[in-house]
């Protein structure tokens, strides 16, 4: 016992001698060009980037490589910048480019898009995570980019949860007394729809089939161009959320005749089957079925149309847990969730993130039948490529972090989780 323990202690102390503790306090400036970059590049001479910008040309060989998104494409796909998570957006601003890794789940979805029979009701694909922070939104963005290049009609709600949670202006709707409007969220949705699909709508001359009466005096006749309808709705924000329902109806009815393929995407759809943060004047919570925009968008999931493909991601469990306002009630009674025992910095095991627990029965009834695709953590290859990308963009600043032991330490700390890796690397 003594020999083994002494050998282990010797080995440990040999690679990390005690004086090392003071080595970091010596002042030393980082000069990227003076640090030898050979040891990392000669080990694997394969590159970590591709020059193929077009997602229609990506194949299985490009797994784990980064491709840069054109800034024009990016502005068209997400004009308000909501399609990607906030942390990633900030890093892209710092790196002066948006580079996304090509991973297995998105390639699987693209394969499915190429293979399906468009005459059948829409195929639903659910991207569910193995762990939190595994990169579902980026896979979804890759698929949206592919759809954009293939000239499919994009009906995507980039942040489904924001509509319900952060709606600061939720007003009761004028036409229907029980329903609630979200004018600002609806207007942003309409604007993204317009900017995404401008080219296609102009080409095919997409006109409305039905008349819509917003009130006793105002109505839009059949035969108006969809872009004009959207312009009208953004001017009259009062009817914006009903206009969302109108557009959904039009898309469902006319896509069969026009022979356009549509790609419908939702990000964090389980917020549609959980509680909202909108509170009525008598302090009761509004359900998502009572929000006009959500109700309209849920009709997209029904199987009564075709020429469509639906991709959906699931958010974390926090979206289903109702929020308790701790400010005014001093005795906060949480539900039967383990939030009251939570401490920062302490790891608590919540149970596996199964699709059933995240979506609930309502969600599964609405989404079934679906194809589940799991998004996993990085593989060794992907992790190494991400590490090299960060070094290339001068994001890893610590002069130990660029060496082999820095890579090992990052691997140990983050366990190949993309979100944790970004957080860890970004904060040192």
């Amino acid at each position: 016992m003594t020999l083994i323990s002494s050998c282990l202690i010797r080995a440990r102390l040999a690679c990390r001698p005690f004086y090392r503790f003071y080595a970091n306090s010596a002042p030393r400036t980082i000069d990227v060009h003076s640090i030898p970059q050979e040891p990392i590049e000669t080990k694997a001479e394969q590159p970590f980037r591709t020059s193929i910008d077009d997602p229609t040309l990506h194949t299985e060989k490009d797994l784990g490589l980064f491709y840069t998104v054109n800034s024009d494409d990016f502005k068209k796909i997400s004009p308000f910048g909501k399609a990607l998570p906030l942390q990633f957006r900030e890093e892209c601003e710092a790196f002066n480019e948006t580079a996304i890794m090509i991973r297995q789940p998105s390639l699987d979805i693209i394969k499915l898009i190429k293979q399906i029979n468009w005459n059948l009701p829409p195929l639903k694909v659910v991207l569910f995570p193995a762990e939190l922070g595994v990169g579902m939104s980026l896979c979804l963005f890759h698929v949206i980019h592919y759809g954009y290049r293939k000239k499919m009609l994009l009906v995507n709600t980039p942040t489904a949860a924001e509509v319900l949670k952060l709606a600061l202006d939720a007003t009761p709707s004028p036409n229907n007394e029980q329903m609630w409007d979200t004018p600002s969220a609806a207007s942003t949705w309409l604007k993204t729809f317009a900017i995404n699909n401008e080219a296609i709508l102009r080409e095919t001359d997409f006109r409305t089939k039905f008349t819509y009466t917003w009130s006793a005096r105002e109505s839009t006749p059949a035969g108006t161009h969809l872009l004009d309808l959207i312009g009208y709705a953004t001017d009259r924000i009062k009817y914006a959320s009903e206009c969302v329902g109108a557009i959904v109806k039009e898309v469902k009815a006319q896509v069969r005749e026009k022979n356009i393929q549509t790609l419908v995407t939702f990000d964090t759809i389980n917020s549609y089957y959980g509680p909202t943060w909108i509170v009525k004047p008598d302090k009761s919570i509004v359900k998502p079925n009572e929000v006009t925009m959500v109700k309209a968008l849920q009709e997209l999931l029904l199987p009564d149309w075709n020429n469509a493909f639906i991709v959906v991601t699931i958010g974390p469990k926090g979206i289903i847990i109702p929020k308790v306002r701790e400010k005014h009630n001093w005795l906060v009674r949480h539900g039967h969730f383990r939030t009251e025992h939570r401490l920062p910095g302490v790891l608590m095991y919540d149970g596996p993130m199964t699709v059933k627990s995240l979506l609930g029965t309502e969600g599964i009834e609405a989404l079934e039948p679906f194809v589940p695709i799991q998004v996993e953590k990085y593989t060794e290859n992907e992790f190494n490529n991400q590490y090299r990308y960060y070094i290339d963009r001068n994001w890893i600043q610590n002069y130990h972090g660029r060496e082999e032991e820095g890579r090992k330490e990052i691997l140990f700390f983050t366990a190949r989780n993309p979100y944790e890796m970004a957080k860890f690397v970004g904060s040192r």
Partner: protein, 243 residues
Amino acid sequence: MLKSSYLIRYSSFQFKRSFHLTIPSLTAGQTQYHGQKNSTWWDKYDSHVDPVQTRTDLLNMDDLDERHFRPVKPVIPTYQSFSCFHDPIISRVIGILLREGNRELVEELIHKTFRTMKLIQTGKYNRAKTKEERDSIECNPVTLLKQAIKNATPIVRLTRIAKGGTLYSVPIPISPIRATFTAIRLLIDSTHDARPHDQRFWTLFAKEIMDAAQNQGRTIKKKQEIHRNAELNRAYAHFKWQK
């Protein structure tokens, strides 16, 4: 100004200290337990032995040595580490920002400040066209912090010495540890005063550190005020040694 903020912070701490040293509702992973004196059980029972400090001692260790059979104290305290990303100056800043032992919160804040600093600086770096511009931009947040602390350390401090019934502010030399403490304290206090105050602490803190590294901003102004006051009261400097 320094003294008033010091008083405000410590009032709540003293009130809580009289209740208990250990917090029974916390789980096994608690970290708010180590700061108090004689709180760890080996301090109470004195049974832990000092560890091996040098490599030669380790190689020439006896098989009958006490340390094989008794619990051994750690080589370094629990808030330090052998990790390559660890820096004692960051630990010091965390310790000075600590309130009521909430170390996790302060670590998060400092991670976010470093992240904002890196975002700004790498943004400039990746947009720089020429090589000289790139070499001049300093991206490493830890070096920026060290530079800021270096620029903000005062050389003297003022004490009150009573002589003949009146209190005089006397400039006296400052020890280096106290100097770094005042520098970090000045950085933190100037972020508390920074405008616009709607923004989060880490964005303002990042801006303060970057300004101080460039020898601009509120912290440098405060340090220069200390120096100015010391210069004004220069005549009384001999009071320290006179009595």
